[in-house]
Structures are given as C-alpha cells and as structure tokens.
Amino acid sequence: MTMKVVGQRVKRYDGMAHVTGETRFVDDVIVPGTLTVKALRSPVSKGTIKTMDTSSAEAMPGVAGVITAEDVPCNAYGLVPDQPVIADETVRFKGEVVAAVAAVDEDTALEALEKINLEIEEEECVLDPLEAMKPDAPKVRPEGNVFMYDERPFRQIILGDIEAGFKDADVVVENEYVHPSLEHAQLELQTSLAVPAASGKLTIYTVSQALYFHLGQLCGILQMEPDQIQCKSWAPKTGSSWRHNAGFSDVNYIGGTVGGGFGSKNDIHADHVTALLALKTGQPCKWRWTREEDLLYSTFRGAWFITIKDGVKKDGRIVARQMKSIRDAGGYSSLNPYVVDKHSFVATGPYFVPNVQIHGYCVYTNKPPASSMRGFGVTPSVFATELQMDKIAQELGMDPWEVRFINAYRTGDQTPTRRVLNSVALVEVMQKLAEKAGVDLPDKLKNMNSKERGWT
C-alpha cells in the first residue's frame, strides 16, 4: 500500500501557535474573581502534627478559605492509593502540604500561611534507601520501608538456571552503578485552576498529561458516602448543588496541550487542592507552583543503586545475569512500584541472556515521592547495562561493538519474562549507526542479522 500522508514530514499541528505565543496554556486562562492558592509545607522530613490551628488565617480579610486534611473527603490517592492530598497527622517528607489557603491575592495568601499555627514534633527520618532497608531503620510508613510484590520485598524475574549459568561461565564481571535523582525541568510549572459552577459542575484547567487517569483519581478523592462527610461546612459555604459523590461527569477536565511533561505531570500535583478550595469557597481558585517548589517538592526520577553480576564465556556470550536494583521511591508510592517493574522486565537490556535472576526493590525514604520520568525504570538499567557491556569487552579483550552484536536479541529469543520476540532490529540498528558514524565494522559483524544468531 502506498501511503500518502503517513510517513510525510507534515508541519506540526500546533507548531506555529506555539512559537508565536498564541497557544493558550493553563496559566493564560483568566477567570474573573479567581483566588490565589498557596500551600503551607512541612519544614521537616518526618514528624507528627501536634497543632494545626487555621483560625487566625481564616479570620484575615481577603482570605476566602483554608483547607487541611480534615477537608479532604478521601485523603489517599495514587496508583497505590497511599498518598494524602494534605498530610494528616504524619508528615513523611520536607515540603509535604499540610494546609492550603485561597485568598484575594498572593500577598494575602502568603501572609495567611504565616498565621497558621503549626506545631510538628520532628522525628528521626531516613533519607538513604540502603539505610531504610535495614530492619531497625526509622519507619517511613507503618507497613515497612520496602514495597511488597506479592509475598516478596522485591520483584523477582527468573529465567533458566542462574547457578548453572555461572558454572558454565569462564569469567564473572560484577559492578555497582549509581543513577542519581533527576528533575524533569519541564518549562510549564505545576499549575491548576478550578472553577465551580452553580450547577454543581466543577471545571478544572489542568497541566495533566493523563486527563482520564487523573479524572478518575480526582473523583476518588472527592468521593464519600453521606455518613462519612467530615467537612459539613462545605454545602452551606459553597451554596451549590454539588453532590458529595463526584462522578466523572461532575468534573470537566480541560487541558490536552501541555507545556512539557516528561513524566512530571503523570501524578496529580495541584488539581486536588484547587478543586477542594473551589468547592469550599465557591470561587475559582488557581495554584501555580514556583520553580523552587517544582524542583524541590514535585515528583522526579528517583535515584537507583544497581549491582550487576554477569557470567560470561570467553567468546563474549553472557550466560548468566544476576542483578539487584534498588529504587529510592521517596515518601509515597506514586508510580514507583510500576517503575521498578518496568526496570526489572527489561533488565538484560537488548541482549539475550539464558539464565537470569533479577531482584528489583522499591524502597521508601523521607524524600518527596519520586515517580515517572521519560524512560521510567528503563533509563537506569540502560545506563548500567551499557557500561557493563564495555566492562565485559575490556575484561575479554574484545571490541565493544562485537560484544553487543554477539549478545543482541534475535527473532524468537526469550526475554527474562519469557516473551518470545518478533520485530527485532538491534543488529541492523547498530549496523546503520556504524555506517552513519563512519565506523568500518569487521565483515563478521556486517554480515550478521536479527533473524538468526549466526553463531552457536
């Protein structure tokens, strides 16, 4: 079939609007009467809230509303719903939101934050995931500091016979790699504008990169049974017909054009707080994080500690891989358990290894919750695996290209999770790379392909 549009270098749909500044992002939306939201954040990495008195802040002229944990109907969200919208009693990271204010302007909102009487009893925290894994470490969360995958404190991937693989090996190459925490550094900051309507409908202008994923979570946060209503002040204050059981059609999420994501907007950062304040005050509420807040307190790529032990034959074949990976997840689950899963599923990189044992750990520490960032858990596994390949080449006195060609997946190979591969193209992709870069590969490598191993 000849294609006429697919495969063409057509102009980007909204490219001209982006470069001329005509695209409307959340921060460009102006709704009359919008209140400014600011959050009070925990000054300590771990502690217990002893006093939370917002009465002076609420009494200030210009302050329309203050919310704390008791204003949140269902105060737990996330893929594993363990993160409170607003910390309730226990604080698990420095910068965690403990209260939020909506006021007529930014100055008033910031002044109101200072009037909140907050006393937190600081407790011993743990910031190092390797320390957090020890039995006597301070508990980040009552269930323990390590996420449980079924019955295990790690995701296990097993293929073949790891012991036999090492017995079969001529050389063992073992190394430790550290991938640091990284920030998305997306241009558009975490921003949200929630606009309540008299009909009871709530409109939220969002920076979300996953509208429906967040719509579901937000409705979960706003969900409660009539007998569970803690914040009875809501209905009289809003004067709206808002039903306390929010459905998807009660909220219209407006977005879809995002000023950079890279995974920073896969978790709700601001929409839940603006929604709650809009419902409480009956007025539009907007919260735009500062760059400092975004860097220090939003999600990020958590650090990784990776140990790889490979059993290798003298001819270059990797016959066994044992890998232990530890992910610093921060204070809450966010997407971390999924990130570790994805890391573990492809932990041998693009190479066939017949005997595999992977243990991927998701460890909680008293940092802001890490979460998704472009590449999820694959990025650190690529980093570690690709340095390891060069170290194997060095150990064997082989060319780094050759080690990769020898071990590259071929059609029909099994991955560590026992998926049988089709549409495999690493050999060809490497050949094209060499050609483009002007590297003259040996004929042996030039003649290889992804359909067959070409060696035994």
Binding site: K4, Y13, I158, A210, I254, R374, T385
Partner: protein, 332 residues
C-alpha cells in the same frame, strides 16, 4: 591535555504500559462537507500526537492532513485515553484512531455504494474521493458522499474506535509476563574530548540510530531524537537533583543551579531512522518518545573511558568526578 574518545551504547524500549490495560478511544466524525474532526483524549505534551493522529486519520480516509482538525481539550467531550506516557500514544491511541477512521470510512463506502450502484466492499478512499477500486471514473468527492449521507440518508458519519492491550500481571515466582505492545531498538555513538586538567567533558558528536517501526512523521521522530538526546546529555554530564545525596542539602532551587544543557552544550545530533515494522501497530509504528533519553548517557560515559581510561560509575560525569577518577587512577 585534551584527549578524545568514542563510546557506544544500545538499548530497547517497550511501547505501551507494561502489563497492558491502558485503553484509548477515539472518535472520527466526517462533516457534511467531507472535512474531518478527530476527537481524542490524548494529551499533546509537546511530542506532537495531534499531528501524527491526524495523519493517521487522513491516511485512512484518503484526504489531506490539513483537512483533519483535532479536539483533545476536555473530558466532557473527548473519548478516554489513559494518558501520554509509556511511549504509548502513537501506538495505542493510533490504533484507536485508525479503528475510528475505518468505521467512519465504512459508512462512506456504504453510502457511496448506493450512489454508484457498487458493492461497499469494493470501494476505496483515495485523493479526497470515494471510488470503486480499479474504476477511477466511478468515483465521488468525499464531501459529496458525506453530504448525501447527512442530508439524503440521514446518517451521522461517525466512527468510534478503541484499543486496549489485555491487562496481565507478572507471575509472582518467575515474573513471567508478556507485558509490551512491541519493542523498539536503539544504538548511539558519542565522541568526547576530555580536558585532563579541568575534568571538563566536551561532547563533540552524537550519532543516534533508532528503530521506530514506521516513522509516521520523520520530522517529529527526529525532534524526539534531538530532545531526548539533550535530556540524556544533561543526565550524563551536568544534572543532579541532590548533589549531596542522600542529604537534601544544597538541592537546586532554580534552573541556574540545576544545569540542564543549553544549545551551547548540544552538538548537532545526527539521526538515522530504521524501520522494522511492528506486527500489530498502526501502519507498523512503535513508540519513540522515551527511548531517546536513555542511550546517549552511557555512550558518553563509555567515550570518557575510551578517552582517559576512567569509569564514571555514578552519574553525572561532572568535572569534579572526572578529576577524582583521574587522580585515583594516577593520571590520564
């Protein structure tokens, strides 16, 4: 002294959410004049999904890209998409879009079949016309067919599409799972110059070779390769959220302290696109978004080793880390 070195890296990247269950839907409506509105819940976070999804709808309906408008801005009207992550939108939302466009096209075929007294199964949509295959003289402009459908036959020319990979969970003992839509492949070469006195690393060259199945829009594919390349260069050489890890002390509070690479730090990235079609993706496409940010960093670190013989086992390779490694080794 300045020393040069070359390093390579390779990788694979899965398309779609690991474990499946991430559904997407789409609606393709052919207006009475033959122009098209595609409604999707996929967010465009800068990667360009509005463009590639519109291209796919246009391809199926045999019209120009410019005749497709995309609505993706609210959940009241737009069908569900799980989100723009996991390199999933081109593939998953693409399949939903193709499904929707084909269903809308089926309605046009049915109507045109009546108008041309032909079997709807014998029709094709090419060059803005609905035609009987092999009989170019028996054809009608798509606008005429859509108009007849709307006003004559009282039909709404709408296709609703859907795709979801069945959800699955890993076996608790072995981790067995078939988790991905498809896999894409990558290889990268980096050339660096290391200043052995300052520890500074200058990236001279970055050559990237990526399999993307089918490049729906090579211009945007190259954009991903350059953008992801820049991100990985930052990871390799300058970015660190907690410089005193695990302590939170001196964490950056602005983009002056958190050093993402600028255009001054990024060489002209050379890209090769390889096309090994996926067996099940729309037009053979695979995801490209995330994989571009993975492989340059290790290639750069391997190049540093090639240049001066030290391994930087903890990213990023700051001048301080490079100098300390050189000291430990006793010089370059």
């Amino acid at each position: 002294m300045k020393k040069r070195g070359i390093g390579i890296g390779a990788s694979l990247y899965p398309t779609g959410m690991s474990g499946g269950g991430d559904s997407s839907q789409a609606q393709v409506k052919v207006q009475p004049d033959g122009t098209v509105v595609l409604t999707t819940g996929a967010c465009d976070i800068g990667e360009g999904c509005k463009t590639v999804l519109a291209q796919m709808a246009a391809e199926v309906l045999g019209i120009n890209y410019e005749q497709v408008k995309v609505i993706n801005d609210n959940t009241d009207n737009c069908p569900l998409s799980f989100g723009t992550f996991a390199s999933r939108v081109t593939y998953v939302d693409g399949k939903a879009t193709v499904d929707a466009a084909e269903k809308a096209r089926d309605i046009l075929f049915e109507v045109a079949g009546q108008m041309l007294e032909a079997n709807p199964g014998d029709m094709e949509a090419v060059d803005g016309k609905i035609s009987v295959k092999g009989s170019p003289d028996r054809s009608l402009p798509i606008g005429e067919v859509a108009g007849a459908a709307t006003f004559g036959m009282r039909k709404l020319v709408v296709g609703l599409g859907h795709y979801m990979r069945e959800p699955s969970a890993p076996d608790p003992e072995t981790g067995e799972i078939d988790p991905f839509c498809t896999l894409a492949w990558a290889a990268v070469l980096a050339e660096v110059e290391v200043d052995t006195e300052t520890g500074e690393v200058d990236l001279l060259r970055l050559v990237c070779s990526y399999d993307v199945g089918t490049a729906i829009n090579p211009l945007l594919t190259e954009g991903q390769i350059e953008g992801g390349g820049a991100m990985s260069i930052g990871a390799a050489l300058s970015e660190e959220l907690y410089p005193n890890y695990p302590s939170l002390e001196q964490a950056p509070t602005n983009l002056g302290d958190y050093a993402i690479p600028t255009t001054m730090d990024i060489p002209d990235i050379e890209a090769v696109i390889h096309e090994c079609p996926s067996t099940n993706g729309p037009f053979g496409a695979k995801g490209i978004g995330e994989m571009t940010a993975n492989t340059p960093a290790p290639a750069i670190i391997n190049a540093i080793h090639d240049a001066v013989g030290v391994w930087i086992m903890t990213l990023p390779a700051t001048p301080e880390r490079v100098l300390r490694a050189l000291d430990e080794k006793g010089g370059a």
